[in-house]
């Protein structure tokens, strides 16, 4: 057994807890989880059945934690997990899983399959079987500070642009303010309008906020690849930045997995509860709305629909706020079939969008989103995740659909009266 395989198997063994043991023991091979997974529904290939993506981990569970499995292993009746097998599973655990959790929402015996995929990735990355694209993103985050190689000067340049465009100063490293705004590199590079929108909204509602020079990047490729040690290093930067500036709340950007990393995994990664609150920007906007602080003007008259980022809605519990906000600015707001809790993934979540060799499959899976969109024929598609946005734009372009994709925050900001 090679050293890396040995390590991978050991990590997988460590990952198995009572929920996972219960899930593996409960599976009745009904295949219903496949019907929930866009990689199966759009390809028809049974190997994309969610529970099958965990087969190596299941065998380790059986061989290490069950009486009969241990006996079978002792007498040589069970097959050990091999390096070749894990290599084969890389595609199933990364390229064809966006951690969207639709499978976990439907399994009749109650298996939380995505919980297991997240854990399985820990073993896969320890065994060296993780995609180059995510590996690169992790290395850049650890060494440079962001998955796309963005450094502070790039952020400062965007701050300058936003200041010039909106005439509003962008605060940096201000202590004692209410909100610490974090970004995803995707926003810094591709969607700089987000920063200007935040400035406009914060001034409108009269809240204090700041960016941090050490904690501007909210995404966490360490979590996506399944390396908790690196994920801890990355999330610790945000924690350190927030605690140094003594902010009340850290705002997770329009990014789904950054929200999961900060809001749900963060405290568990660093091993203690946070001393500050974490909110997705959509939750913050909803609080402003509910408090009557958003006095918007004008309504969009074209037909708008909303794509729920999986990590925000199904995995994050934020489902109604985005709808309340959409209704403030859209006269003609339509919901796609399955919108909200059961929304379909864009196909590129959970790190999948940075896997080059997964592109073909991703575009295949996008057919689901295409059908959802065709059912309501919107003029614009609104979402609240920069990664979804890029993946949606790529998919739309591939299928020659002419549909602009916009962020919710900037859509709200557009309706803020000029001060």
């Amino acid at each position: 057994m090679s050293a890396s395989l040995d390590k991978g198997v050991r990590v997988l063994k460590e990952m198995i807890d009572a929920p996972i043991a219960s899930y593996f023991s409960s599976c009745v091979h009904c295949g219903i989880c496949a019907e929930a997974c866009l990689f199966y529904t759009e390809t028809g290939d049974p190997k994309y059945t969610p529970i099958h993506k965990l087969e190596p981990m299941r065998r380790i569970y059986e061989q290490e934690y069950t009486l009969l499995g241990r006996l079978a292993k002792r007498v040589g009746l069970s097959k050990a997990v091999t390096d070749a097998e894990l290599a084969e599973w890389q595609e199933l655990v990364y390229n064809s899983c966006t951690l969207c959790a639709r499978c976990s929402a439907v399994c009749p015996v109650g298996n939380d399959i995505v919980y297991m995929v997240r854990k399985m990735r820990e073993g896969m990355s320890a065994a060296g079987h993780s995609p180059e694209g995510i590996k690169g993103a992790v290395t850049r985050t650890i060494n440079i500070g962001s998955p796309m190689g963005v450094k502070l000067p790039a952020v400062k340049a965007q701050m300058k642009h936003a200041e010039a465009d909106y005439g509003i100063p962008i605060p940096l490293d201000q202590e004692g303010v209410e909100y610490l705004v974090t970004l995803s590199s995707m926003e810094i590079i591709n969607f700089p309008e987000y920063l200007g929108a935040i400035a406009k909204i914060m001034r409108h509602v009269g809240k204090t906020w700041t960016l941090s020079s050490e904690a501007f990047e909210a995404t966490n490729a360490g979590m996506q690849i399944g390396n908790s040690d690196l994920a801890r290093v990355i999330v610790s930067r945000v924690v350190a930045g927030a605690e140094k500036l003594k902010v009340k709340t850290v705002i997770s950007p329009e990014c789904g997995h950054a929200y999961t990393a900060l809001r749900w995994e963060g405290a568990n990664l660093i091993g203690r509860p946070f001393t500050f609150k974490v909110q997705h920007i959509v939750e913050v906007l909803e609080e402003f709305r509910a408090a009557g602080l958003l006095k918007l003007e004008g309504m969009a008259t074209d037909r708008l629909t909303f794509h729920d980022p999986c990590q925000l809605a199904r995995r994050g519990g934020v489902i109604q706020p985005q709808r309340n906000l959409m209704k403030m600015v859209a006269k003609d707001f339509v919901e796609m079939p399955d919108a909200g809790f059961m929304n379909w993934c864009c196909g590129g979540g959970g790190g999948a969008s940075s896997i080059e060799e997964g592109e073909e499959l991703r575009l295949e899976a996008f057919k689901r989103k295409k059908r959802q969109l065709e059912a309501v024929k919107p003029d614009r598609l609104v979402t609240a995740c920069a990664n979804c946005r890029i993946v949606l734009e790529e998919g739309l372009e591939h299928y020659k659909m002419n549909l602009p994709v916009v962020g919710l925050t900037e859509t709200i900001a557009e309706h803020i009266p000029d001060a």
Binding site: P19, S22, C30, A105, G110, N111, K277, R315
Partner: protein
């Protein structure tokens, strides 16, 4: 061993052995699984009505939105045979009499014609899920020896019981003994096969519901 001795054995020693293996097996497996524990979630919880382990135990008994049409046989035949099994096992007067001698409690049964009808419907539903397992690529792909084996283990008590009641195929006494033996096999294997979901499905739903409930997601 003649038929009568066989019947006496399955009713006595055989049943005792099966019950002991069943009870110890269930306890062992439950300890083996739930003894592993889990880490405390340190993130700040979000409360949402309906987002809890108990709510999911109930909610997952119904198909989630949009799922019924994707797997109609699994859902419909699945309900029918689960409910049917429970009715036949626990509401048939002779079964109640036997169970009363074990658990010291009694409850009213259903008329035997009704149980007979339910048995036939349950067997039909089980055949439907078997055909579905063979016909649908995903199910066939997932199927292992365990799936065919446990289907057989579950089907045999229904079939042999029904044949015994109708005095078909084998002399009544022998068929009755075979019937009891088939139930004993079911009991012996239940803790160690996927049939154990009869216990763990509740734990799994609870974990899923509680862990997502922590995030304010009613799954």
């Amino acid at each position: 061993m003649d038929t009568l001795q066989f019947l006496t054995w399955v009713r006595g020693t055989g049943l005792n052995i099966a019950l002991v293996i069943f009870v110890l097996g269930v306890l062992w497996r439950l300890a083996e699984i739930y003894g592993l524990g889990r880490k405390k979630d340190l993130s700040a919880p979000r409360n949402m009505p309906g987002a809890s382990g108990w709510a999911t135990i109930l909610r997952r008994s119904l198909p989630p939105p949009g799922m019924l049409p994707t797997s109609p046989v699994s859902y419909i035949a699945g309900y029918v045979f689960h409910v049917g099994l429970a009715v036949v096992a626990f509401l048939f007067a002779p079964h109640i009499a036997l169970l009363t001698s074990i658990v010291a409690a009694a409850w009213p049964g259903l008329p035997s014609q009704v149980v007979d009808f339910v048995t036939v419907v349950t067997m039909a539903a089980m055949i439907a899920v078997l055909i579905d397992r063979i016909a649908r690529p995903v199910k066939r792909f997932l199927s292992t020896f365990g799936d065919w084996f446990t289907w057989t283990l579950t089907f045999l008590p229904l079939l042999t019981g029904w044949l015994a009641v109708h005095h078909l195929l084998l002399p009544y006494t022998l068929m009755l003994a075979v019937h009891i033996l088939s139930v004993e096999l079911l009991l012996v294997f239940l803790p160690f096969t996927k049939l154990f979901h009869a216990f763990t499905a509740f734990g799994s739903r609870w974990f899923n519901g509680a862990m997502n409930g922590h995030k304010g997601v009613p799954v």
